[in-house]
């Protein structure tokens, strides 16, 4: 066993795992904070919706599509000057978070839009008939009704961010991905590679399980 994992520096692995956790956690938080309002706006301005605004929808939708169509590895590089401007460095855990949010937020926004569209129109109509304002419809009816879908969306986004965060190791992002690239890939330490991949798999499994539990808990259908 010792020989098999001779290159594995466990404290280093622990530190890298923690970094990944922080990167995914922080970028998930900001992706949700930014993506939720964008998703609600996409939904509301869409065709035959409460605040139908074809131009606003087209612009917003275009921006989201652009961010989503750029491969993440390219987005990482394109974002470097902006990241430096924003937080002073493009390296390490902190430097990875802006590109992760730029990738995660539009992704999550689309998932929010989709789950809002799945709310029965009749419920919106009934709430309108009660004299609710648009604000009350959003917070009183739409978001609570779409909550299970939104939680599922957060889970999918979190898992996507795990793989994005690993990718950010390429430009010096820190975390398990960085470890895999520096040791597993560049120094041919296969055992390090295996351990980091195994940890990422476990991480994703746990996220999915927790997400599914939460969805089930909030589903009343």
């Amino acid at each position: 066993m010792e020989a098999l994992l001779s290159n594995v520096d466990w404290p280093e692995i622990g530190l890298a795992s923690w970094d990944t956790l922080i990167m995914v956690g922080m970028s998930l938080l900001f992706s949700v904070l930014a993506g939720l309002p964008i998703g609600v706006l996409l939904f509301l301005t869409g065709k035959r919706q409460l605040l139908e605004q074809p131009v606003a929808y087209a612009v917003l939708s275009f921006v989201v599509n652009v961010l989503r169509s750029v491969p993440f590895i390219i987005l990482l590089i394109v974002m470097i000057p902006f990241t430096v401007m924003l937080i002073g460095t493009s390296l390490g855990v902190a430097g990875a978070i802006p590109p992760l949010v730029a990738g995660g937020a539009p992704f999550f926004a689309r998932l929010v839009e989709t789950s809002l569209r799945e709310v029965d129109r009749g419920i919106i109509e009934a709430t309108q008939a009660m004299g609710a304002s648009v604000r009350q419809i959003i917070f009183g009816a739409l978001l609570p009704e779409a909550l299970p879908g939104i939680i599922a969306g957060i889970t999918v986004t979190a898992i996507t961010l795990v793989s994005y965060a690993a990718m950010s190791g390429v430009i010096g992002g820190g975390g398990l991905g960085d470890l895999a690239i520096r040791f597993g890939y560049q120094r041919f330490q296969t055992d390090v590679m295996v351990i980091t991949v195994a940890l990422l798999v476990i991480f994703v499994q746990v996220l999915q399980m927790v997400g599914d539990r939460l969805v089930l808990h909030f589903s009343r259908k």
Binding site: G131, Q136, P144
Partner: protein
């Protein structure tokens, strides 16, 4: 009172205006149960949604208690909608809220009720619709009839003066339909609430409505007291609806009439005359023999009525007819 003054509604489809409701005049009195019947696509959904402006009118004025609601600002419209309850075919309850929270929802939206007010009112309404033991359940745990009762309780929460029912019983089985209709009739009587009810079933109209409008192709083609419209339908669409509700096969009826001898009359009577032993005494007085080809004795809301198709042989027909008319029976000679 709800007054429609040349109200119309059209939709813009590909640059062209497609009419959903042609200019319509209509008055619905305070406290009555007003039915709107029509096939799907006849415009009845549009008509009922004009009353709370879920569908904005494209022409004309809608006056409710002498206020022109078509001129309301957004805030005035929201305040007005709180005084108009609405129930739906598919109930439209919030699946994420319990029964009690669904009923409390419109009161919370209104923002003028205290927590204790809301709690008391919810209890009162739960009792009203016999759902006290279901307060903490979620809509998915209820039957269709129970869901509609929640819908009714929710619609009544802010003490509205008008209740709109959009095909409220169309998704329910006959027995549940009956109990929901009975509940609506009770509410109408006890609270003096004006009820506007749209349906595609004439039977629903017959059971609860005072007056009815029949719609076809975006127009009101017939309007009047349910007993008049039901017993003496004028427009072909109305006739279809009445026959449909009586499940009459017109071909069978023709065959019956061909086999019968003598004159064929249709007698229509309602109210007290339903209970009079009229046919026997008329037959004795005029010497006419009769046989009943078809008939129906039932109720329109609370009024009993009957409609019989008879074939008459021998005796003095003129005497028989005048005796029937004297007894307040409407006589129609079919052959």
């Amino acid at each position: 009172m709800i007054v429609f003054n040349q109200v119309q509604k059209s939709y813009q489809v590909g640059g062209r205006a497609i009419p959903a409701l042609h200019p319509t005049d209509m008055t619905i009195e305070t406290g009555e149960v007003f039915g709107i019947v029509g096939h799907s696509g006849a415009g009845k959904s549009t008509l009922v949604r004009l009353i709370n402006l879920l569908e904005p009118a494209t022409g004309g004025n809608i006056l409710i208690d002498n206020e022109n609601i078509t001129r309301y600002s957004a805030a005035e419209l929201r305040a007005f909608r709180r005084k108009v309850g609405m129930i739906f075919q598919h109930f439209n309850l919030l699946s994420s809220k319990t029964v009690a929270d669904n009923i409390a929802f419109p009161m919370k939206l209104a923002g003028v009720y205290s927590k204790t007010d809301i709690r008391d009112r919810v209890q009162e309404l739960l009792a009203r619709v016999s759902l006290l033991d279901q307060a903490d359940k979620y809509p998915s745990q209820l039957s269709g009839g129970q869901k509609q009762r929640v819908g009714i309780a929710r619609a009544l929460a802010c003490r509205p003066t008008i209740l709109l029912c959009d095909e409220a019983t169309s998704a329910l089985d006959p027995q549940t339909t009956q109990s929901v209709l009975r509940l609506l009739a009770e509410i109408n009587k006890e609270l003096g609430l004006t009820i506007v009810l749209i349906t595609h079933e004439m039977d629903v109209v017959r059971r609860v409505c005072d007056r009815v409008a029949v719609m076809d192709g975006g127009r009101v083609v017939e309007m009047g007291l349910v007993s008049d419209v039901f017993l003496h339908p004028q427009h072909p669409t109305t006739r279809d609806f009445v026959f449909e509700s009586e499940s009459v096969d017109s071909q069978e009826r023709q065959e019956d009439m061909q086999k019968a001898n003598g004159r064929i009359l249709r007698l229509t009577f309602k109210g007290e005359s339903t209970y009079q032993p009229l046919l026997g005494s008329v037959a004795r007085a005029s010497g006419v023999d009769f046989s009943i080809l078809s008939g129906r004795i039932d109720h329109i809301k609370d009024t009993p009525y009957g409609q019989l198709t008879l074939s008459l042989v021998g005796g003095d027909l003129a005497v028989a007819m005048s005796a029937l008319e004297a007894a307040d029976v409407h006589v129609e000679v079919l052959r």
